[in-house]
Symmetry: C2
Subunit: 314 residues, 2 copies
Amino acid sequence: MSRNRVLVTGISGFIGRHVVAPLLQRGFEIHGLSSGPPAPATDDRIRMHQANLLQSGAPAAAISAIKPSHLLHLAWTQSTARMHLVLDNVAWARASLALFQAFAEQGGRRAVFAGSCAEYDWDYSLLIEDITPSRPRSIYGTCKNAVREIVQSASPSADVSAAWARIFYLYGPHEPPGRLVSDVAAAIATGRAVELTHGLQERDYLHVADAAEALAALLASDAAGTINVASGTAIPIRRIAEILALHANRADLLSFGRRPSPAGDPPRLVGDITRLRREIDFVPHHQLEDGLVATLKWWTHHLAPTEMPANTNR
Amino acid sequence: MSRNRVLVTGISGFIGRHVVAPLLQRGFEIHGLSSGPPAPATDDRIRMHQANLLQSGAPAAAISAIKPSHLLHLAWTQSTARMHLVLDNVAWARASLALFQAFAEQGGRRAVFAGSCAEYDWDYSLLIEDITPSRPRSIYGTCKNAVREIVQSASPSADVSAAWARIFYLYGPHEPPGRLVSDVAAAIATGRAVELTHGLQERDYLHVADAAEALAALLASDAAGTINVASGTAIPIRRIAEILALHANRADLLSFGRRPSPAGDPPRLVGDITRLRREIDFVPHHQLEDGLVATLKWWTHHLAPTEMPANTNR
């Protein structure tokens, strides 16, 4: 077995696309798993494998074929809409356990799993690993947290070093639609009005490339247990929308207070990043305002050929 | 789909053997699943199916073949020794989720899962559903509890009525070796000495036939959520060994204090049975002393042909 061969699930996804560079930089031999048709690798230093992890036997078959020493498990049900489909989440919990089991059985040494800040009890605003209680509200958070409990309980005896990254709110290129930054940036990029809640909720936002950098560093380390991947700073989501709109000089497109907040929407969520700083010496590269402006540019460029009429100067 | 067709996993196991009668009594059409070779059904009113639920695709295939309206999921890793093998427990968690997913997808309506008192925080002695915290110490309790979290979170949207039975300490015929009553009764039945801890730990013991009766009643009800299956009374395990030995007039075989208690062994564990009484009107049939004496007789009869020399009068 190669000593630095990593299997990255969900490599074509939002985080997965950004994790290739920092993994290569750390000398990993990258094997990417994607459920889509055998797409050309985005980088010829990646070996791509096609597999639908939800198919019975697929996780064990992938591990057998690749024999990874390292595992970075990012894949989960895709769109934000599907994240609420309960049986999809159950299926991903099952597939994640199958992947972990096969990885451990076949001698895998180091694994990092993508968890979520949705595993925490959101009655608290300061979310600290091993201190703030876990009490997920959603089926998504429940399934992630249940897999975490099993992985963390089983890893020591299974001789796998495992870290569980609780990833907070992300933004950046390739973000799926249906989220704050992707929806607001796409609206502004195409000149459409966008209706928002009051926007006073404070959330902890990190650039996806910073999160990917943290995950790669975490994989290369031997830090174990739960670790927040966050900025450590909360910002009102209203401010995020405003940064995007003001940069394009289109504050007129934003209508705050036109959509109701979800019932029980927590006023503030911020991740404590003491562990992230101490154990992997992580410092984000992207300052929020610059990162948002760059993301807006990406959306503007990305949406231009398909969604904007070709012959206008709008 | 038949409206009262139940799939019972682990039907050849300790609880499974005892659950057939109370299910038949309630008019269920029983389909039993067993991983062993196609054994003759213990009752010709049971249809037996052979499947190893740990094999990829086996849970979904079983549900497809049987199309049950009801599910009683008792199967888990078998022996007490294997209960500590971490990856066995991970595999059973995965298989249980696959079973639940397939059951829900194919229109199953009512499911009862075998959980465990090992899901509770044993720093408490009184274990009450939804009040005493869940904080399993073992990989067994962790995996059971994680499956419970997912099943309970997913069931309402998946349109499955689900109850999670937290089963306490059981005794009775067919108990696997390696547990208190099976080991002490087998020793006494064969005239062997047995070394015990101090035996002052109080535990909640229920006859397996009573537990099976409760599970069948639970399946036929629509009680949802977590429900203790227990006697509601704790007894020092020393007293249990003494009842068995005194009945055989072999108190000389017991040596208390000769084995160390496990580190952190809780002094007292007792299940609150308010829900069990109220929601399914359950009353145990077996008084502990009578049940233990009957169990000792079963062991004596059961062990006679194989373990006792045929021509002695010992």
